[in-house]
Symmetry: C2
Subunit: 189 residues, 2 copies
């Protein structure tokens, strides 16, 4: 495939504010590395769980090639793709790392992370380096609780156009924003 | 407050397809009933966890008045508000049921659920009756795993205009949809 040419410039992003990107429910790409191999999976079942430490819970089905890589390495990167990557998001989700090198196959660029061994995906708007924090529900629900230990985000736009899966092949694309700050009590923002 | 006049007509909705509404990450209103009192809270930290049984995991902070009501009753209803209810969503989230009757205060209409004791919110686009399924992570993370035991949804629109919180008083409103079904393998939809 033709390499994707768009690489957003990024800065460090505060760990306690990761909810800005993840709470609205975007589909994400999860990258991993284990025994010299990398992989990427598409993931939509996740939730913010705490500000500090910055915790994110997510379901990574044991049927995924990434499951063992992430469980055994105890690390991954949650990458935030924007709507221009829609086709890539679907293709990553419909193939298996057991058969192909998804970075190469889909023209994505692995970048070294700062804290974890798993690679960042350069083409994504933001990258959250994660360490496995609690595996208490992995056996029963495939539910991993990660701590975000380092976050990188493009400076603009503040509200990237993200993809939100609704099943049956259809994604909702993030729309306009509305500000209701004046209705909030300060501690409730 | 002036009662809200819009009541969407609803039908039963398949339990295994709850992800259609919840996976895109909308802010929701969680209603509860315990010892003759009802309450409503605003909640944004949730994820689908399984199709069948239909499981949804969510963080309900122990600081919320709803926490004990939901834990002790073992039930709640997850209600899906649309963008026209934005001000109500914020007001519900910025008040406590320890001090006010939120249904009355905000002009919302409680309706009897079919399976659980907690009330539905009539003005919402969809209502998911939930029973506490697993409380293993409640003490440590305020994380409840619910089974959706009955679902009701407005027939139209299929893609309601939902609210997605990004922090700092700003909501993203769901935008257009894009269909990539042709890129999916059948089992991956």
């Amino acid at each position: 495939m033709t390499p994707i040419q768009k690489y957003p410039g990024k800065k460090d992003f505060p760990l306690s504010e990761v909810r800005h990107f993840l709470e609205p429910g975007p589909i994400v790409l999860v990258s991993s590395r284990w025994k010299g191999k990398t992989n990427i999976m598409t993931m939509g079942w996740h939730t913010v769980m705490e500000f500090t430490p910055s915790l994110v819970g997510c379901v990574i089905s044991s049927g995924n090639h990434s499951f063992r890589m992430i469980r055994d390495s105890g690390e991954c990167v949650i990458n935030l793709p924007t709507a221009d990557l829609a086709d890539t998001v679907v293709r990553v989700g419909n193939t298996t790392g057991a058969e192909i090198d998804k970075f190469r196959e889909f023209g994505l660029t692995p970048e070294d992370a700062e804290v974890v061994g798993a690679p960042l995906i350069r083409e994504c708007h933001a990258n959250f380096e994660c360490r496995l924090y609690d595996d208490a529900l992995v056996d029963k629900y495939d539910f991993f609780i990660f701590e975000v230990v380092k976050a990188h985000a493009a400076v603009t736009p503040k509200y990237p156009e993200t993809l939100h899966y609704t099943g049956d092949g259809v994604f909702m694309v993030s729309g306009k924003t509305i500000n209701r700050k004046k209705l909030f009590r300060p501690g409730m923002l």
